[in-house]
Amino acid sequence: MTLGLGIDTSFDDTAVALVRDGKEILANLTVSQFAEHAEFGGVIPERASRLHVETIFPLLEAVCRDADVALSDVDFIAATHRPGLIGSLLVGVTVGKALAMALDRPLVGINHLEAHVHAALMAEEDLAYPFLALLISGANTLLLDCPNFDVYLRVGATKDDAVGECIDKCGRHLGLAMPAGPALEKLALTGNPKSRRFPRPLKGSPDGDFSFSGLKTAVLYALRDDPDLVAKDVAAALLAAIADVLVTKTLRMAGRLGRDTVVLCGGAAANLQIRRAFDEESEKHGVRVVYPGLALCTDNAAMVAGLGHEKFRRGQLSGLDLAVEAQALFPPL
């Protein structure tokens, strides 16, 4: 039995988790800073770093209490070291290094995006490589081919806005409180997705790239030019456009690469309309779509501990000089 402690402070959520044998989540706590940044309409990096320092220690105590384990029971420490806000990453990595040194346990540096993909392997017992992964969140829209463990090949990415960013900003245009994603999803449930046809950027392009900034502008102009538009219909039509592009391009690329499994992960993968669209279309293409549970979709540290377990098992350990990096670039396919 191996007990892993996961730490993620890559952006504006402070997350700590304890996971046994890479699968069994004993405790998984995340403290969102969203309310602290709301007045600025976005995350302020310096403020985020300050809040991580305040939050991480009570959170460490809380996960140990929830899981009824002592820190000394932990076999390894996994900490996200890229990509993210440098100041935020430094807090989690420093605590991870200090724990590794004080407990005399190995440290495992984790790529946050790889951990999102790995979350699907934690959630689905029978999921196996190879597969295609679509990672959608507030900061990323990334299509990755995953032929084996630790091999991530970039098939495509957004050229501008990420999916979550597009949804959040359109939600703001609709007057929804930030983060607008969940509110916009709820609003869209009762709206008519065919009330208006928003553009499907890059849907027809043969590559795996995406673009959502034009769609965001289209929603802004539609609301400006047509005062009779109904918010719930705009929300439904927007999500229909996003889902159409994501599903079409992902399934087309899965067919081209011969992948019969698609992993849909990242915070925006929690969106019900996008999931439904994948479910409906994937059957027609004979492709299996796997989603991690909702708790593993959004930023969390269980996925960090889970991936950390695989790396620990394979001896892929990090030193106390582990560096933090703002970016994580994947080699192209």
């Binding site: 007045e39 600025f40 309409g41 302020i44 310096e46 403020r47 770093s49 300050r50 320092v53 305040e54 991480i56 220690f57 009570p58 460490l60 105590e61 820190l71 000394s72 100041g87 430094l90 807090v91 420093t94 605590v95 290094k97 200090a98 724990l99 040194m101 004080a102 407990l103 030193g319 106390l320 000089d321 582990l322 560096a323 933090v324």
Partner: protein, 233 residues
Amino acid sequence: MSAILAVDTSRFATSLAVTRAGSPPTVFAPQGPRVHPPKDEIFLVVQALLERSGCALADLDALAVCVGPGSFTGLRIGLAMTKTFAMVGRLPLYALDAVSLEARRVARILGTDLPPRFCVVVPGYGSVTFSGLFTAAEGKLELEGDIRWHGDPEELAASIPEGLTRFVSSESPLDLENAVPVVFTEPSALELARHAGERLEAAVDVPLNRIQPLYLKPFGVGRKARRPEDFRS
């Protein structure tokens, strides 16, 4: 002296010290302005320092940390490291602000020549300084009021009462008018370790959650951070 690891990452040069009873202290104190071990390597430096002093983390009696004001990133690294060590080892962690730490160093250098009331100035980033007014009586230093943040030397000069001696480290990159430069002969972490030793001896108990970085500068002042209404205007 008890076994203490002292960490000062608040200033231009990182200062670390390990003290042990019956042994000379082991220090990491590079010379020159703005000398830090790279932030990714500070743990290796601490590890080497402990090894050199023949001491393991488990052998420590207490930890000491400078909570600033100073380098924001430096403070977070120092705090996160020492608080984690304290949490795992159930060790007391003693914190001291950077200005009071500097006042203790000034007092140690000047001894009986220390004026009964004086000001200490600690350089921050760019033209920023921090200052504190102190009274010295019966071997004790008392901070009058709060430590203050000054955006530029003029603001600093205006805040110090006329005729009060103002001390600043001779290594300060700022040319401060009427300031008396003090040549420190030992690293700041050593004074920090002494402070922790005194607190440990007095059995002072400070809950870990009360030890937080002292940023001083109000968030967003003079920075690019703006609220949505700023853009609209």
